[in-house]
């Protein structure tokens, strides 16, 4: 599911846009030299999906096993803390995950978890509005946050000699956020978030399609029915009282986990973490969620229009949750279908027939339910029906016969490489600290890297086709078409 980034900031002076693989148009990075960070992140998100869908390894045996030594402790107020040492650059990162996302939102308050995330940067009991960012920048620090369906994360990267400043700020907003919160603060960030929605959904080509897919996949009462960014009316309705209630319910230390990683000495770091988080009061555990079931019994079809030149087709299925049986096999299905030039759909639609500009497939893994999606854009002169026919033929073929050993190995090799690549940065979104927190949050084990990789290594070609049979029935899915808006 698409994360919603809390904050925009300036483009680095020399922005080397990542090269989209085999799909130069999906993000259209090549023409744009002015992009806000938010836009960059959107592109990055799409690339990550492609990269995961591609993800891949080889005749040469794997390199050394991934080892991420860490230590772990729990404060008396219930905050779980994970420490990881890495002295390659003199920086540390403070990475906090709150185990709450848009799935916890109340009726008529969609988008609230993300609006709340924005308020976390607006000062707290001992930090006046504006000082959070001013102090961090004055120390050479960077920070950001993002919201998904199931969690909200925050990170602060600072030079290692400013670790205490980062811990002070992170603990102050956990302990004392409401001391300085006012209805005016809520109003200010409400406007910012509405502009984030305009920029990332309404004014972005095909931006509304993702929202509609969620609505079609899940019944109205299911928390994945509504988008993380929320609906405009609900953002308008969000109140100061909602902020107080949400904070008390979901922002207790026992509903969070903290990873501090980088250039640190664990014993010293533990001392200062205890110092700054020790006075944060414990809170009640959130009530368990009751999740209505979601299933697709037939084909749900819909056509919407957008201000675009070309139509696009989205096919989507409900699939097993993150890390459940079938989840890893569906990552491989995505790669076999649309990862790289030799993938079946890319090769037929884009390379041989040249009737599509792009095709992507991915398993969007999440905690309560996942979805598998195939997205393709017909070239001028070709239709969604032409493209969808080929997609269905290839799904059926994969359901009939297992992929070759070579196809499977190619996919697993790419996944294995992606694990190494993910080790190169400690802080920020997707850095080592963020991954430790993600694994902790979803599996209970921060260092679940090898177990995760083992899921892919264990797959046989038959497992891949079996997953396609079980989870991608042609007769029970969402079929969304975006057609170009007709203007006089």
């Amino acid at each position: 599911m698409t994360p919603t980034n809390g904050r925009a900031s300036a483009t680095p002076l020399f922005h080397h846009a990542p090269k989209p693989r085999h799909n130069p148009t999906f993000c259209f990075v090549s023409l744009a030299f002015v992009v806000l960070k938010s836009t960059v992140m959107k592109c990055a998100a799409a690339l990550v999906l492609v990269a995961l869908a591609y993800p891949a390894a080889a005749q040469t045996p794997a390199a050394r096993a991934i080892q991420l030594p860490y230590s772990e402790f729990t404060l008396p107020n219930g905050l779980r803390v994970i420490l990881h040492e890495d002295h390659s650059v003199p920086m540390v990162t403070v990475n906090m995950w709150y185990h709450v996302g848009s799935a916890r939102e109340k009726e008529k308050r969609t988008g609230f978890a993300h609006l709340f995330e924005h308020l976390m940067f607006m000062g707290s009991g001992h930090v006046k509005p504006g000082e959070f960012d001013e102090w961090l920048e004055a120390a050479g620090g960077d920070n950001n946050g993002s919201t998904e369906n199931d969690r909200t994360n925050y990170w602060i990267n600072v030079p290692s000699t400013s670790l205490e400043l980062a811990l002070f700020l992170e603990s102050d907003r956990m302990g004392y956020l409401l001391d300085t919160m006012t209805p005016k603060t809520v109003d200010a960030q409400r406007d910012v978030v509405k502009n984030e929605r305009r920029q990332s959904v309404e004014n972005r080509p095909y931006g509304t399609a993702e929202v509609v897919i969620g609505e079609m996949l899940y019944p109205a009462a299911h928390p994945y029915h509504w988008p993380v960014i929320g609906y405009m009316d609900d953002l308008t309705a969000a109140s100061y009282d909602d902020v107080v209630g949400f904070f008390k319910k979901y922002y207790a230390p026992s509903n969070a986990s903290l990873v501090v990683a980088g250039d640190l000495q664990p014993a010293d770091a533990r001392k200062v973490i205890e110092k700054w988080f020790g006075d944060v009061k414990a809170g009640p555990a959130p009530e368990p969620m009751t999740i209505p079931g979601a299933s697709l019994t037939g084909v749900q079809k819909k056509t919407i229009t957008d201000r675009v030149q070309l139509p696009r087709v989205y096919l989507a299925w409900l699939t097993p949750r993150h890390f459940e049986p079938g989840d890893a096999a569906l990552d491989i299905v995505a790669d076999v279908l649309a990862g790289g030039k030799n993938s079946r759909l890319y090769k037929r639609l884009v390379y041989d027939m040249q009737i599509a500009q792009d095709v992507n497939a991915f398993q969007a893994s999440a905690q309560l339910s996942s979805s598998f999606q195939i997205v393709a854009t017909p070239r001028p002169g070709h239709t969604v029906a032409d493209v969808q026919k080929v997609i269905d033929e290839e799904i059926q073929k994969l359901q009939r016969e297992a992929p070759s050993a070579h196809e499977l190995e190619r996919a697993v090799n790419q996944i294995e490489s992606s694990f190494y690549n993910r080790m190169e940065r400690v802080g920020g979104f997707g850095g080592v600290a963020d991954q430790l927190n993600a694994y902790f949050t979803y599996t209970g084990d921060p260092d679940w890297f090898n177990e995760d990789l083992a899921r892919y290594r264990a797959l046989s070609p038959n497992d891949v086709s079996a997953a396609a049979v079980q989870f991608l029935p042609l007769g029970a899915r969402v079929e969304l078409t975006v057609e170009p808006e007709k203007r006089p």
Binding site: P24, A32, V34, V89, V127, Q414
Partner: protein, 479 residues
């Protein structure tokens, strides 16, 4: 100095006790002195054919990054052939040596490698990232791609259709329209910087294999290239591998590089409006001709821009996002190249506040001409310089820093002196470069939005001459 171990244990065992007392939150903890900057050490060697090789050992993760950088880019596109460098780079992976496009992709994917070839304004590069255990398997593929491209005719046609469709789709995206229009109105059709790196539909339709080959032959020569290798190896083990792939590479023909004409900043403020009916936001770009990367004002400009629109607390972001809520974010930047790239300020703002946002942009562009307060200056300098070490974190990061050093001829002590050069910038320096390069009365303003809703109020601002452009004016006729 760290505490002796025994004392540490005692401190830890009293942790619960300490946790019961609230810490003093009346003042934020003060940062300690920054750790000394440890720069990667660069070993500079040559292969037997004279190709320079820069090597950095980085043993954190078992991966390797190898980049072949050539010092010719899209700025070297001849008139009438805008887009040829970018097209040629994209074609390198579409057939090389005895391998077809599909064979290259399959081999690269099977190794879990990533191979990419791109052209930017001032350079082109073939870059390989791969688990180090598979470096020896991946280098021959990279070698074919970089040294023996075949430019097959059918792949050329495929790539052409891909690019034409991509240009067509660019017309959907307001930030893309704004960026392309901004370059065009500042530099015009006759300057390379006035056209997207990809070129136009008109040029893309005309390229032949010979066009691509001639760009390739002029650009990809050992005398015009450097090889970078960053990763989990050392020079003794990696140089023989690089020698095997690149050591026998011979020069082909060379050609005189294109000279860029000088670009003149606008003589007065000019407004360009582009209609995007129904758009809920207006994309705004304001700016002028900036500076080349070689400018002696580099460090003052970096600091000035950080204050204006280069960080979260910068004036533009604070004003347009935090104070007024007109935008999700606002920024500014200097796109420095071998020639003078643009200076720009940018945001996407809600349609009904477009005129107000333009007023605030100009308030900030005028305010930066006045002296900056000491605290704001110190914050900007620290923000840029203290996090500098993180720009050397991954193998990709390090290789990009080395590429910058090569392409822009940075001095050997550039990285080592970076922090002190930033810290040396004074308030007077910032004011001087702001007055010299920002010039709010001599800028181009591009607004892409719903003109029916925004045009009357923009006109009422009386900012300058207003010209309305069509999407075709920006992109040329629909492909």
């Amino acid at each position: 100095m760290r505490m002796p171990f025994i004392v540490l244990v005692a401190a830890l065992s009293s942790g619960v006790l300490a946790a019961q007392q609230a810490p003093d939150r009346s003042h934020p903890p003060q940062p300690g002195p920054p750790a000394p900057l440890r720069l990667p050490s660069i070993q500079k060697q040559k292969l037997s054919n004279g190709l320079p090789v820069w090597i950095v050992d980085d043993h954190k993760v078992p991966v390797a990054q190898v980049n072949l950088v050539v010092f010719s880019g899209t700025a070297n596109d001849p008139p009438g052939k805008y887009g040829v460098a970018s097209f040629a780079a994209a074609m390198l992976e579409e057939g090389a040596g005895s391998r077809s496009a599909l064979e290259i992709a399959d081999a690269v994917d099977f190794l879990g490698a990533d191979v990419g070839a791109t052209s930017t304004s001032d350079a082109s590069a073939v870059r390989l990232h791969v688990p180090v255990a598979r470096l020896a398997d991946a280098l021959p593929i990279m070698g074919d791609v970089a040294l023996r491209p075949t430019f097959p005719r059918d792949e050329l046609d495929r790539q052409r259709q891909q690019r034409l469709t991509s240009l067509l789709q660019g017309r959907d995206d307001p930030p893309t329209i704004a960026a392309v229009a901004f370059s065009r109105v500042l530099y015009g059709k006759g300057h390379r910087y006035g056209t997207a790196q990809m070129g136009t539909a008109e040029t893309i339709k005309t390229f032949t294999s010979d066009d691509l080959r001639s760009f390739y032959a002029a650009a990809f020569r050992p005398e015009n290239a450097t090889l970078l290798a960053v990763g989990d190896f050392n020079a003794a083990t990696v140089v023989p591998l690089l020698e095997k792939t690149f050591g026998s590479w011979k020069a082909a023909a060379s050609a005189a590089p294109e000279k860029l004409p000088p670009a003149e900043p606008p003589a007065r403020r000019q407004i360009y409006l582009i209609d995007k009916p129904g758009a809920p936001q207006s994309q705004i770009r304001i700016g002028s001709i900036g500076v080349p990367r070689s400018t002696p004002d580099y460090f003052p400009i970096i600091v000035m821009n950080t204050i204006l629109g280069g960080s979260f607390t910068s004036r533009l972001n604070n004003n347009l996002r935090e104070v007024h809520g007109y935008a999700y974010g606002a920024s500014s930047g200097f796109d420095m190249r071998l020639g003078s790239g643009p200076f720009f300020a940018a945001a996407g703002v809600q349609t009904d506040k477009t005129a107000e946002a333009l007023t605030e942009f100009f308030n900030e562009l005028n305010a930066i001409l006045k002296p900056v307060p000491a605290e704001e200056l110190a914050r900007a300098k620290n923000y840029v310089s203290l996090r500098y070490p993180s720009s050397f974190e991954s193998t990709g990061d390090i290789s990009r820093r080395l590429e910058d050093a090569l392409v822009y001829h940075l001095p050997d002590d550039y990285f080592a002196k970076y922090v002190q050069n930033i810290q040396a910038v004074s308030a007077a320096d910032v004011q001087r470069v702001a007055q010299k390069y920002v010039q709010p009365d001599r800028v181009a303003v591009v607004v892409v939005g719903d003109l029916k809703a925004i045009e009357p109020r923009i006109r009422a601002l009386n900012l300058g001459t207003i010209t309305t452009l069509s999407i075709d004016d920006v992109f040329g006729p629909k492909p």
